[in-house]
Symmetry: C2
Subunit: 221 residues, 2 copies
């Protein structure tokens, strides 16, 4: 489907990442409305992987900042792609802090942040082949007590089969459409952020998604 | 300011056009909520010029389609820029009709559409140098009775001085920040779509804009 959007519809990768990252940030506001949070409670740790999922995480972090959250980014393996580089610069210039390492002491993460955005691995990653530093990060995230919001799929899950012992996000934001593993998601909130997918493509891939109300870019399933 | 966003903050032109076009479509929904309109009343004529303003108009048209309006595009002088070409393909593939000419009989426009989006000329255009087909289009738009929504500046206006005898839009959507000529705008609704402008840039250029509520990308002045 992504191929169709990019090759036939001529959507740009920058354009798609911008729309997806924006929608993820909007989904966060639905579950954790900023007005109900103290300044301390607005702290969000955004963990970005080296591929497309991480790029969307960077966009999400920028919009969270605009929505008056306090994001901090951990982006240990930076992509050399100009798209990701530009998104990184936007975050840096907007004074979003970047962590140089992730505490292995889980309590430090629980204390410092109110939630974690998991933008580590997307549906294109082979779970068996997850490499460092991703495997260590996932081992840490399995232990945190604060809610995890996963972008597209929970990192480390197989796109179809899910995972027996992977991370358990509280919120899942499916991008474009839910992947098969979303059927095994047992968290509280599942959103789809795919309003940008043209009707004909939705029909062709039998998405049967609910309608998006008003000007909303995400819808809860 | 655009230079600063692009060169220092590394915002992409595609990314900025996407955010601006989306925000313009959202502004339209505020003044003309789709739920209050019959299908016939949802018809919108989007007139796109050859430059950046026209590219944003194409994005706006696409989002209006997603928001269940019935846009029709008139884009007589197509840009050879890949950005505009891709936005054009997105609209074409989503079955948005393109007019091959604009009726000179104004009544036909009044009857066929409920509003006009003016994405013809932006602040970079020299009003004295407006060429065909823009001058004819503007002459026609001066006579239409349906509301006009202008993107960034009313086309044909001088960016500072405005215009004595130019078009009179009912709605103005300033992009990033109001241009000087917005002080001469006498229509009913003036929005700013510039939430993406980082705080430091807003301060540097003394924008003093009102806060955007919630996740809103536009704010009424």
């Amino acid at each position: 489907m992504e191929k169709e959007l990019i090759e036939d519809y001529r959507f740009g990768r920058q354009q798609l990442a911008e729309m997806c990252g924006y929608a993820c940030a909007v989904a966060v506001t639905k579950v954790f409305p900023v007005a109900a949070l103290s300044r301390k409670q607005r702290t969000v740790l955004v963990v970005c992987g080296p591929e497309q999922n991480g790029a969307i995480g960077l966009v999400c972090a920028r919009h969270l900042r605009v929505f008056e959250y306090e994001p901090t980014i951990f982006y240990p393996k930076r992509s050399s792609d100009s798209l990701s580089k530009d998104f990184t610069t936007q975050c840096e210039k907007m004074d979003i802090p970047f962590l140089s390492y992730l505490p292995t002491e889980v309590q430090l993460i629980n204390d410092a942040y109110s939630l974690v955005i998991d933008a580590i691995l997307g549906p294109g990653a082979e779970p068996g082949e997850a490499k460092e530093p991703c495997t260590s990060i996932l081992a840490t995230l399995k232990l945190v007590k604060i809610p995890i919001v996963s972008l597209d799929i929970p990192s480390g899950w197989d796109v179809e089969m899910g995972s027996e012992d992977g991370i358990s996000p509280e919120v899942l934001v499916s991008l474009a459409a839910p992947k098969k593993c979303a059927g095994r998601f047992s968290g509280k909130y599942h959103f789809v952020a795919g309003r940008f997918v043209p009707d004909d493509v939705q029909k062709k891939f039998h998405l049967n998604l609910p309608g998006y109300p008003g000007t909303e870019c995400v819808v809860a399933l």
